[in-house]
Amino acid sequence: MPTDTFLWLLTQALFIGVFVAVGFRALRHPEAARADVALLFGIISAVLVISDVGQLEPLRSAAWLTPTLFALVSALPFVMLRLVDDFAPQPAELVAASAALTFGLIVAPFLVPQPWPVWLQAAPEVWFVGLGGYASAAFLAGSTRARGVTARRMLAVAIGCGLLALVLLLSLLDLFLTLPEPATPIVTRLAALGAGVAYLLGFSPPAILRGAWQVPELRRFLERAVELPRLPDTASTVAALEAGAAASTGATAAVIGLWQPERRTLIYRQANGELLETREDEFIGGMAFSLGRSLFVANAAADDPGHAERYRQSGARVVLAAPISAGERRLGVLTVFAPRAPIFAEDDLRLVELLADQAAVILESRALIADAARVTAREETTRLKDDFLSAAAHDLRTPLTTLLLHAELLQRETTRAGGTSGTNRVDRIVTEAKRLRELVSELLDGMEAERGHMVLHRQPTDLVALAAELCADRATPSHSLRLETDGGITAEVDPNRVRQLLENLVDNAMKYSPDGGDVIVRVRADDESAFLSVSDTGIGIPASDLPHLFDRFHRGSNVDDRRYHGLGLGLYICRGIVEQHGGTISATSEPGAGTQFVVAFPLRAPAEATEPEPATTAPAFATTSAEPAPLDTPPTSTEGLGSRADA
């Protein structure tokens, strides 16, 4: 078989084969663009078949043969223009003028009697070379503007149009010039075959080729992706992901909706920066999200009529959406849009799915980085608070020490001198300095409790001894302090904190029983817990205050600020100490009759919370050798502030 015959048959087989494939697809999914593609291959196939069949004897002289071929060839460039218009909109006037001219060229061969004038003989070729060349140039321009798979497909179509125009150009030249006989058919047939292959790749690329074209885009996306989680916030990351996904798919736009599990909505950031919150199954993206699988929608307005107007406004006709999820966790949905059908096919869904998977990884990394940043910020805040607390403690307490000591010295001197004129004023200074000391102490202890991570130094502590010592220290002429207990109770607690707790409760009891009276401290235990209680016969607490009693800065509604000084932190501090020990604190009260606070502690620290004994139980600098006091005997020391029993 001669080479040119073989090429010719191959070209015919190719065009007819592709026509069958795209024609079948256009019938299955009727779409303007698909119909145009099918029409293009249909007409070319018809031209090829008719020109071959026309060689056969009975048809050779048929009157309709030549006009039909003329009409078909004249119609082809218009179909090409329609395809250009599908990919990249063309001026309406151009389309209309071409339609009119095509119509004229289709009817002319049937109306004008043969033999035709030369202008009519050359008309289809000239028309084809002109409009086909234009289509080729338009596809080429579109290809440079487009990205990814679309750019390659448009390039292939441009080559196809160019080659087909070349075939017609050669035929045109053949009409007027005498070309070298053997060369022309070979070149013509090679160009026609090339056009067939290029059209196949452009209009109906096999999945494997589409996949191969997607790889470099995906790789480029991944290269950019490495940097994405480090962007300053999630919004920037999402915006970069959207831009990357649009670039990789060649889409006009890509959007990411982030899942808000607590509200059961998806949130999109729109181009104008505003947020759009939708139901979880709203829009095609939402449908893909709720179904948990990717979706290809060729006509968004038809498939989601509820939002037809919105799709039309944003020029979104074809929509591909893929859910973004990390394992079982759903993070959101990636949606890409194109204004016209042939830009995408269902094969592109795989790329969108890959991009969605990648987006999941990036969003997860972003969330982890955000978490890490939050932890760092929290640690920084804690550190700043600690620094402030430490500085405040020093800066407030140090001058107060000097003030208090000097005030008291002055008081002593005045008293000793026997003068009466200044005594009242000096007494006043001392009283106010002491009050200031209480307030500063309450404030700083409150801030310490606020930090929430008081360091406990637990050690076996004789609670009875501790309470006995405190009762001895704190009793005043107006208030008697009575300790009631069953006997020695040892608990693993921080003795300084428990002492602070009892002091606060006892001071509180005395403060709010201004007419004096009994304050009873009870220390009891069962097998697991120690119970400390402090009761008074004071003004009591209204029932409405009880639920807020241990809140920060809460003061009783029956408490006159001018009469009872304080910041409302004392009981808050108590609660902090008790909770730190894994215990509970509660209060019962009868206004006008008195109040009882009850604290319960576990006797033993939880196993993991037990700290090693401090190595300093025996003072290194002791001048006297101190026998460690048995835990069940009260220490001989009456030092209210030190914790150690001196011999």
């Binding site: 000097t402 700083l444 300084n496």
Partner: protein, 127 residues
């Protein structure tokens, strides 16, 4: 009521106002008083004459309370020590350096005198 030749009480604090106030109180009560503005100065004082008690601030420039206590331990010197501090962790710090007691700032005259009396009042060994 005090030892005929009592050992002085060494007050160590970087705040001169505190040093002078504490010194005034103790002198009024008849104690011998020595002072130092930081741990390093206090070490020199201790080497010159062993005090009966050190009232030690913890956070000081040059040499702080921890450094001072460590230096004493390294020299094998044993002196009763009571720390004076504005920090919340007074008890913890006292146990860290093995001090004999602590006075949380701000303290009153009576609290100061009680602590001092416990450590420098005559004992059989001192008398």
């Amino acid at each position: 009521m005090h030892d005929p030749q009592p050992l002085p009480i060494l007050i160590v604090d970087d705040d001169p106002a505190i040093v002078s106030a504490v010194a005034d109180v103790l002198r009024m009560e008849g104690y011998e008083v020595d002072t130092a503005g930081n741990g390093a100065a206090a070490l020199t004082r201790v080497e010159d004459a062993l005090p009966g008690l050190v009232l030690l601030d913890m956070r000081m420039p040059v040499l702080d309370g921890w450094g001072f206590a460590r230096a004493l331990r390294e020299r094998g010197v044993q002196v009763p020590t009571v720390i004076m501090t504005a920090a919340h962790d007074a008890a913890v710090w006292a146990s860290e350096i093995g001090a004999d007691g602590y006075l949380p700032k701000p303290f009153q005259i009576q609290e100061l005198l009680d602590v001092v009396a416990r450590h420098v009042s005559p004992t059989p060994e001192q008398a």
